[in-house]
Symmetry: D2
Subunit: 265 residues, 4 copies
């Protein structure tokens, strides 16, 4: 962590920053510059509370050098995470070298519709069927999904086709049902920072597909994933679904370059 | 609703759109243009399902003329909504001509801290005290709030100062406690589209302060408010808290002009 | 064009809109709705001045159905535009089925550097060499390019390798030199709406590579291209170079889906 | 400047960074951390070329502590800049304690229109009249302004009302005329990073109103102003005109908080 002082900060202000860093149990390393002085905080284990330093007189800015996430990082675990589902010949692995497709309709509407859709996506090469039993809809007057009966129709489609199923949970109660019946629990973009839901998902015992929020940074996405890992769930699949842009020409702005950035971090 | 046909759409394609509109129980009004034909759907009561029309051959775009929200609109209720809290001399009215201030610390940390903060914000002119008992934090390793004991400390500060209290609820269980103990239930920016939580808040019997999501459009904000009204809660206070911008020079981009836009709609 | 009236607009206000449309020489087609009335303007040839209608009492919004660009659109010219450079065996075609690569350093720095870079990019499969002789730099204190001598070094690299060359022009004077010496004139992202420069580029007699502005919509990009076509230059190559996003994790947000949108329009 | 090493960077990689910093003539100050090592570059006078350090093996990131602009900063000149126009009783000062208004129509259309508009804005309290003689328009088919005759009409309106005049220049030729006839030369949002034009404006001898680009950061705005100062023009008026947002509910997103940020920097 680097504490950057204002241009013209007094010697006393710099001394105060140093003594607070030392009080907190870290080492302070002053770096005088031509424009301004900065003070390095050495030995940061990721638990330093910056707010105490930000409020000191003469402080211009606190720059974080460490990343706030841990278990999701390559620095914690250098190897790629592979999430395996299903066993034997029908097994599916996310995060390996193979590209696997999840496909299906927006919502589950009827048995006929979902079974037919399942057959089509299977034929087209998908290995997991998606379809909403609960749909987060901007308007309270839009169709909100069939709910629990929708889950049963998805299970039926799985039976008929052998596809695995992935569907969204919107709250704690629904998440219990989804975790029981589906193969992958989906957390939608609008709930990416619904931390209460993330904690429950982190204990649900099923892989979680975490969709990136419509204007979440990569760091926020990784921190939301960290909520799942911190609760013991390491089977996390991240989903880039596009962010909100300024151009109405496309509904979402697909952030392709976020993918290698996430892979690297 | 206006169905805009592709340049070069055939006469049959236009006829098909007209007949679908009529099947849906509305009137169709074709408008041939030099570049392309459009078909007006007359008599839209806000319940038309556009997806059926969007999928027809030759259709370029469906343009919505009606707004998707109802009870929050001026067209439903022309007068301004005034939310009144407290009675007698200490009463507070949001949405009237007076500007009322809600102030307080980010989190409730201790009795001494919150009571002292309450005294200061009262002296500075605030009429409602805010402070988080539950804090939605990007990182699972950041302080998440004192929880229920935090609510009791807020109640203590109210007792000592006479201020009303407003605090955030992050899930159904917490919302029950907040609605019981606080004067205003806050729904945070990250939960603006947590529709399960909105439905519970719509039935909680207390005024709700709904914060705009970090990249929510005005229409989405109004639709989230509509969730509350649709459940019977008309005491909704909207909060512009800034949106996510591209410039790291400010943490949030305060969208001042959204305020008159919301007032007008 | 569709003129949407306010909810509660009077019959007189609607009549006034109709009579103005007729005065302008078009046909008006009123479409009464449950929530509000809309009036279609029939026969729009793309030259209607909306501002006259927007200011009329009772008008809520004017919705454009026609696109403002013409010559760049598929509706004007259905076939893909192929820009051909060089002749014979070394010929290059942009916009056809082949993927062609333009590559090279940010700036031209020295003969040795640019010739060496040219050799490397040629070996790697590029057919056009890029490199800035003039560099638009955010800071006046950053290296601004070698200017005209940089053009000569590019020509030297072309001679040595047979690659075609593409380089940016920042103003009218520089554009003359670039058009004379380079094979493709580049208009940079910051100048995408420098309309004076676009007009000059439209008359320069060389193909133009037009980079999308850092927060230009697809429509604005196409309209800037229209400036070039309107001056008679049909050899326009559009470049998606990423837009400005909110996430500091990547410098630019590459808008992949803009490409099929542009192809379609 | 702080050079942050990758987690797991070797001792040799750190040593290399240190020796390069010393070769460049600065002092290196290594700061070992628990997660990673950082190396401070001490004595940065704002001319350090970061690219040389960014490319070294083991380097994760280079963080800039110094600001890239100089003459526009409070650190260069602590006092507020006051731009004075006109003399005697009719004098106007931008940047002082008074709020002064510039107002007028989008374009100059005719003598009658601009003189009438001038009278109205004067009556409403404005001290400077604006109105475009050249208009940067997204479409080549939109009205582009009257050009030089428009300047004469503005001068006529000044004569009639005593208002000062401010109008936009779009290229070098036009800027000469505008500087000759107007009191303030306007650089529009689309040309904020037209550096060739900024250099000319920096030598034009008249105050410049520099509008913020539609998605320019505060730092980019200040650097564009720096172009003007670097050419000797210290009479720069910055204009916050709103940035591009994601919500079609408002045309521009007025960035109110940018104003105190700019004042502070």
């Amino acid at each position: 962590m680097l504490i950057v002082m204002r241009h013209g900060a007094t010697r006393d202000e710099v001394e105060k920053v140093i003594s607070v860093i030392e009080e907190m149990g870290y080492q302070a390393q002053p770096m005088p510059g031509v424009q301004r002085t900065a003070v390095g905080l050495v030995g940061n284990d990721g638990r330093v509370d910056a707010s105490r330093l930000e409020g000191l007189p003469g402080v211009h800015e606190v720059i974080h050098v460490s990343q706030p996430y841990k278990q999701v990082s390559r620095e914690w675990k250098a190897d790629a995470t592979v999430v395996r589902l299903g066993g034997g010949a029908g097994g599916v692995a996310f995060g390996g070298t193979e590209v696997v497709a999840i496909a299906g309709p927006c919502s589950v509407e009827s048995e006929r519709q979902i079974v037919e859709a399942a057959r089509q996506v299977k034929e087209a090469g998908a290995v997991v069927l998606r379809g909403g039993a609960w749909k987060p809809r901007s308007s309270p007057y839009s169709f909100q999904g069939l709910g629990k009966p929708g889950l049963r129709l998805l299970a039926k489609a799985r039976e008929e086709t052998g596809l695995l199923i992935c569907t969204e949970a919107m709250d704690e109660t629904g998440l219990g049902w989804v975790a029981e019946m589906a193969d992958i629990v989906q957390i939608g973009a609008r709930n990416m920072q619904n931390f209460s839901l993330l904690k429950v998902a982190g204990r649900c015992g099923k892989p979680v597909l975490l969709k990136r929020g419509i204007s979440a940074t990569v760091q926020e996405l990784l921190l939301s994933a960290e909520y799942l890992l911190a609760e013991g769930n390491h089977d996390v699949i991240l989903c880039e679904r596009g962010v909100r842009g300024f151009d109405p020409a496309t509904r979402n702005l697909f952030d392709l370059t976020a993918i290698p950035v996430v892979h690297k971090l």
